[in-house]
């Protein structure tokens, strides 16, 4: 039986990068078949394959860390760098949508009537549900910090409660946004206003759902005793992602909802 004499993680060969790449192909070609021919079989296969890949890949990461002990301090450092770099890439993703919004709204063209919001667009009142959404996400930032401190103090009861509250606030935000979407007097096809509004807020909403899912996985792992007061990077990664989602909303609220009205 050989043992490694270095602190790094030499992973077992895994099929998930391949299945991930193939399911990306199924998703993209599936979208083509749906958009052009209304056929959904390929897209369905792609969704199932990508979800199965994600489930098994991350399940294996939990096995490698919590059960096999491969996440030594140098390995964890690499994971921290990785998560930070990923979040930075997401910042650039949103920067594109904010660029599009400011490009169109700072110098409105004759097509919009020469002003922003364009003629005929009734923007949502920023002091109504959007303000509530802001409060909800800010509160969830507080509860997730409470969760982290409880985790570090080995307070199982409070960390569970605080994490549950964070998840509930995330779900509440999503429900509020869904209701707002059904109430808007404008749609995505209502000119450049509609496009910028729904692309930016739509992708933000998707990230809230992803973040809520990540936090829910942390909740389950917490119940299964995976986290210790000193080692809980999975939770920290989820918390960083959640704070990022919150910050993006603050930019959205100030730029599109408030200044843009």
């Amino acid at each position: 039986m050989t043992h490694q004499t270095h602190p790094y993680h030499m992973v077992n060969p895994s099929p998930w990068p391949l299945t991930g790449a193939l399911s990306a192909f199924l998703l993209t070609s599936g979208l083509i078949m749906w958009f052009h021919f209304y056929l959904t079989l390929l897209l369905t296969a792609g969704l199932l394959a990508s979800m199965a890949t994600m489930f098994q890949w991350w399940r294996d990461v939990v096995r490698e860390s919590t059960y096999q002990g491969h996440h030594t301090p140098p390995v964890q450092k690499g994971l921290r760098y990785g998560m930070i770099l990923f979040i930075i890439s997401e910042v650039f993703f949103f920067a594109g949508f904010f660029w599009a919004f400011y490009h169109s709204s700072l110098a409105p063209t004759p097509q919009t009537g020469g002003h922003w919001p364009p003629t005929g667009i009734l923007p949502l009142d920023p002091m109504e549900v959007p303000l509530l959404n802001t409060a909800v996400l800010l509160a969830s930032g507080v509860t997730i910090t409470w969760t982290h401190h409880s985790l570090m103090e080995a307070n199982q009861k409070e960390s569970t409660q605080a994490l549950a509250m964070t998840i509930a606030l995330g779900i509440y935000f999503t429900l509020l946004q869904m209701s707002e979407y059904s109430e808007t007097p404008f749609t995505i096809s209502d000119g450049i206003y509609g496009s910028t509004f729904f692309m930016a807020t739509g992708f933000h909403g998707l990230h809230v759902i992803i973040g809520t899912t990540f936090l829910t996985m942390c909740y389950i792992r917490q119940q299964l005793h995976h986290f210790t007061p000193n080692h809980h990077f999975g939770f920290e990664a989820a918390a960083w992602y959640w704070h990022f989602v919150d910050v993006v909303w603050l930019f959205l609220y100030i730029s599109i909802y408030w200044w843009g009205s």
Partner: protein, 80 residues
């Protein structure tokens, strides 16, 4: 309201106040996944791992073949 620090945080015993808490099965899992049997981590959990792997790979390979067929089909015009 600080809870007392837990020294052996990884292993927690089943206590009588744990009405809502699940038993800590991490040590059992650690034993299972650290067994020196040469099985890679993605199959090391047992039969369910094998089934899930086959279903996933089957979906991907079958789907890819069907996808290539679909794209070939879509590439040729048909009469209106």
């Amino acid at each position: 309201m600080l809870a007392p620090r837990v020294s052996q945080a990884l292993i927690r015993s089943f206590s009588s106040t744990a009405r809502n808490r699940l038993k800590n099965r991490v040590p059992e899992k650690q034993k299972l996944f650290q067994e020196d049997n040469g099985i890679p981590v993605y199959l090391k959990g047992g039969v369910v791992d094998h089934i899930l792997y086959r279903v996933t790979m089957g979906l991907c390979l079958g789907g890819t073949a069907y996808g290539v067929y679909c794209l070939a089909w879509a590439s040729f015009p048909r009469n209106k």
